[in-house]
């Protein structure tokens, strides 16, 4: 009888070979073959970069906060973000906690971009505190400037209808589903139309910063409400 290899034996031999190779790999004997792949593995994980803010005095110059206020702000900030940087995901999570009923992520995204002035993808303490300074201690014009910056998504100096619609939708998203009266699908665009009617003087379909500020300064309601958040800190 010759040496007949039947189907099952082939299978058996195949299984044995696979197990052999696996065992060798496990023992690292097959190292040279797989050195190209990530043999260094992830044993070394570079710790996240830590960011230190500018000095207290510099920040005092740049913002309108007192030393104590800056200290208090930093303590809170550092407690929450020990690395000194807030990335967008964390920012979205934090902001969403205030609006449990709705979805605040889109608006948080816009807000993040408004705070992240150097567009590097993370908010440092300086950005944070400068933004807050404008919002809480700035003049009305500065605040309006900031709001315009927020609405102008691509930062080109013009607010288009699409940009405004996106902002409006994100704000309405924060309301969530359970509202009275229910939010209709057309509500954001209607609101946008109203806004443009008010703000767009020359009817060119975009709102510039001058139109915006001019219109807001003429509106009593808006001017009064700008004083609202003076005492937050």
């Amino acid at each position: 009888m010759g040496f007949q290899i039947q189907g099952m034996e082939l299978f058996a031999i195949g299984v044995v070979m696979i197990m052999f190779v696996a065992v060798l790999k496990g023992f690292g004997i097959l190292e040279p073959m797989s050195s190209f792949e990530d043999s260094s593995d992830s044993d070394l994980e570079l710790s996240t970069v830590r960011h230190q803010p500018e000095g207290l005095d510099q920040l005092q110059v740049q913002t309108k906060f007192t030393k104590k206020e800056l200290q208090s702000l930093y303590r809170g900030f550092k407690n929450e973000c020990p690395s000194g940087l807030v990335d967008e995901e964390t920012f979205k999570t934090i902001y969403s906690q205030f609006f449990p009923q709705g979805d605040a992520t889109t608006y948080a995204h816009f807000l993040f971009n408004a705070f992240d002035m150097d567009r590097n993808g993370s908010i440092r303490f300086e950005d944070f505190v400068i933004g807050l300074s404008v919002l809480l201690r700035g003049s009305v014009t500065e605040k309006l400037n900031w709001a315009f910056n927020l609405y102008d998504i691509n930062k080109d100096g013009y607010i288009t209808k699409e940009e405004m619609l996106a902002i409006m939708k994100s704000i309405y998203d924060m309301m969530g589903r359970y509202t009275y009266p229910s939010v209709r699908d057309e509500a954001p665009s209607e609101h946008v139309d109203k806004f443009f009617q008010k703000m767009d003087r020359n009817r060119d379909g975009v709102v510039t910063i001058e139109e915006f500020i001019e219109t807001c300064q003429k509106d009593e309601n808006i001017m009064n409400s700008m004083q609202l958040f003076e005492n937050v800190l």
Binding site: A147, I171, F229
Partner: protein, 635 residues
């Protein structure tokens, strides 16, 4: 809300400026924040260890003690700090929770202490961080199990039965706790003996004995001595049946008892016999009958009532049910896989024993458990290769769940050891507690006796004040108030029982003065604790039913207005004219169960009293037979 949210609140509010130009309606006014906004450092002194923290840190969690205005209750004006008289080590963890927002469980601390601290500071344990949650839960479960054992041990029938226990209760207690009475112990051993006898008989009757005369073949002993064995079997079954019926009768809840494991075992043990009686002696049925006899072997499980080790084993298997299930499942999977493979591998071989896949199951199991009988052996190369893989994997698959089962067994075994120790300790503890209670009561009664109430002799009161603390004074005052409220007086067991003894047998003590001997037994029940008291009683009309001791009900104790000028005796028991029926079972039992009086109470000058209580006290182990005690007292 989490700590972070509170920190970011100013930011969120500031960012709302972005909505202002879009608003269609006027914005509401912001809330006026009256508290000072500037952050300050607070000092918290916990048992001398001074902690400092920002006020903001504590304000993060406003529904805790430290975060709310509740901490103002602990504010110390002079030292300008919050003082807490709690464990400073634990406080560290509490404060860290405020700082980091995560609560950690310190592993070296007692879990009860930790939970108490959390409860004090108003923090719910559920917010323990994930890192420590598992440890916390494990310890908590362990603790609860231990406590459950404690209460179970307390509720176990070691406490003396209430005197109005029916025969049923007594019987049940005798069954459950054989060490409580001699009869129960005897019964316990007898049943154990018969279980052993029955099991041994079952075994022995299959042993081959020397054949009868004239025959060649060896006969099993069961057939040779069939009469003897069947008598033995019948006797055992009768005893088991009696026992089962008695248990059924005595059980407080028959349904639960009938469903319990032990009762099922009992039934299974005796049923074959009765079925055998009922069934006719024809051929086809006797095959089934033989099978039934197998069930007789389950009598051996009746031993689990007698052996704790068996019970532990049973508990363990129950507790490890999931691991065992996993073991079984993985084994089954492996068996099926390997059996299939072996079958197809050996299919080509001529005259192979692997005739089908189910037939290969046997080979696989034998190989995986490394038994290797050798009745089925693969011939082909493929078969041998797979056979070796099979045996190697078998070792692994079986070895994996075993440590889990072993650790479970160890845990349950240790728990049981602990339970036994606990029970022994509990007895000591209870005795000590009882002594302490008695001590307190006696102190109060002594205080009254010493005339502390009426403030009679200033000399005597001065003497008697002795070393009583302010706490004791207040306590005694409280008890006095209660007495005045209810118009009754506190007394102690002995006196009370003496009263009953006297009344039940119409015993008139020579010490009691002013016995109005009217028709029927009218005695005055009075305290006879010490000679130095002048015992005067006001309206003393006690009529005692002269019924036999057996008709005993509760003693009604009422007091007529005590308007005497004499210092009150310790127990002023005046009964109205209604019939008094006494339940002396309580007190006789109570007397007998009193431990030796504590040496520190000064008023245990009982030897003065007639010998009756003394004898009663010494006859501790006697059965609670009122007849006996009555006899003694009539000496």
């Amino acid at each position: 809300m989490a700590a972070g949210v509170a920190t970011w609140m100013p930011f969120a509010r500031a960012a709302a400026v972005g909505w202002l130009p879009l608003a269609q309606q006027t914005m509401p006014k912001p809330p006026v924040d009256k508290t000072s906004r500037s952050d300050e450092i607070l000092f918290v002194n916990v048992s001398g260890l001074r902690f400092q923290t920002w006020k903001n840190t504590l304000d993060r969690y406003p529904d805790t003690l430290l975060g709310s205005s509740e901490k103002e209750f602990f504010y110390n004006e002079e030292t300008q700090e919050y003082f807490f008289d709690r464990d400073p080590e634990m406080f560290r963890h509490i404060l860290n929770f405020f700082r980091t927002g995560k609560l950690h469980y310190p592993r070296h601390e007692c879990i009860q202490a930790f939970e108490e601290e959390l409860a004090f500071y108003g923090i719910i344990p559920e917010i323990i961080g994930d890192c420590c949650m598992e440890e916390y839960r494990d310890r908590k479960k362990e603790n609860q199990e231990r406590l459950a054992e404690d209460t179970e041990a307390e509720n176990a029938g070691d406490a003396p039965l209430p005197p109005d226990a029916t025969l049923r209760d007594k019987l049940w207690r005798a069954f459950e706790n054989p060490h409580t009475s001699t009869m129960a112990l005897v019964f316990y051993y007898v049943t154990g003996f018969f279980i052993a006898v029955s099991v041994i008989a079952n075994v022995v009757e299959t042993v081959p004995c020397r054949p009868l005369k004239g025959s060649v073949k060896d006969l099993p002993c069961g057939e040779k001595f069939s009469v003897a064995f069947s008598c033995l079997d019948t006797a055992c079954v009768l005893i088991f049946s009696c026992e089962y019926l008695m248990r059924l009768y005595a059980a407080p809840s028959r349904c639960d008892f009938a469903r319990s494991v032990m009762s099922v075992i009992d039934v299974v043990a005796i049923l074959p016999f009765y079925i055998g009686l009922v069934m006719p002696e024809n051929e086809e049925v006797s095959g089934a009958f033989v099978t039934l006899r197998v069930f007789r072997v389950f009598r051996i499980f009746k031993f689990s009532r007698h052996s704790q080790g068996l019970r532990i084993l049973g508990c363990t298997l129950q507790a490890c049910a999931s691991e065992l299930g996993f073991l079984l499942f993985s084994l089954t999977m492996a068996v099926i896989i390997f059996a299939t493979v072996m079958f197809y591998a050996e299919k080509g071989t001529k005259g192979t024993t692997f005739s089908s896949i189910p037939a290969s199951f046997w080979y696989t199991i034998v190989t995986m458990t490394t038994l290797g009988y050798g009745d089925m052996v693969p011939d082909s190369i493929a078969g041998k290769i797979f056979g070796s893989i099979c045996s190697l994997s078998g070792v692994l698959v079986i070895a994996l769940p075993v440590p889990v089962i072993v650790s479970n067994f160890a845990r349950i075994y240790h728990q049981n050891q602990r339970a036994d120790k606990m029970r022994a300790q509990q007895k000591v503890r209870q005795a000590r507690i009882r002594m302490a209670k008695k001590g307190a009561t006696n102190a109060f009664l002594q205080h009254k006796e010493d005339g502390g109430l009426q403030g009679g002799d200033s000399d005597s009161t001065a003497l008697c004040v002795k070393n009583r603390s302010a706490f004791e004074h207040q306590h005694h005052h409280l008890l006095q108030c209660l007495e005045k409220t209810t118009n009754h007086e506190f007394t102690d067991e002995v006196t009370y029982s003496e009263v009953c003894m006297m009344d039940s047998v119409g015993f008139r003590t020579s010490r009691s003065t002013s016995l109005s001997s009217q028709q029927g037994a009218t005695t005055t029940c009075c305290s006879r604790r010490s000679k130095r008291r002048a015992i005067r009683l006001a309206n003393s009309t006690v009529s005692v039913s002269r019924g036999s001791v057996q008709e005993l009900a509760t003693l009604h104790i009422t007091k007529t207005p005590v308007g005497t000028q004499y210092p009150q005796s310790r127990s002023n028991l005046n009964a109205r004219t209604e019939d008094l029926k006494l339940n002396c079972d309580d007190y006789t039992a109570a007397i007998i169960s009193i431990p030796t009086p504590p040496a520190n109470t000064p008023d245990e000058s009982l030897p003065n009293s007639p010998a009756i209580p003394g004898i009663l006290r010494n006859s501790r182990s006697s059965t609670y037979n009122t007849q006996e005690t009555v006899k003694i007292s009539s000496l």
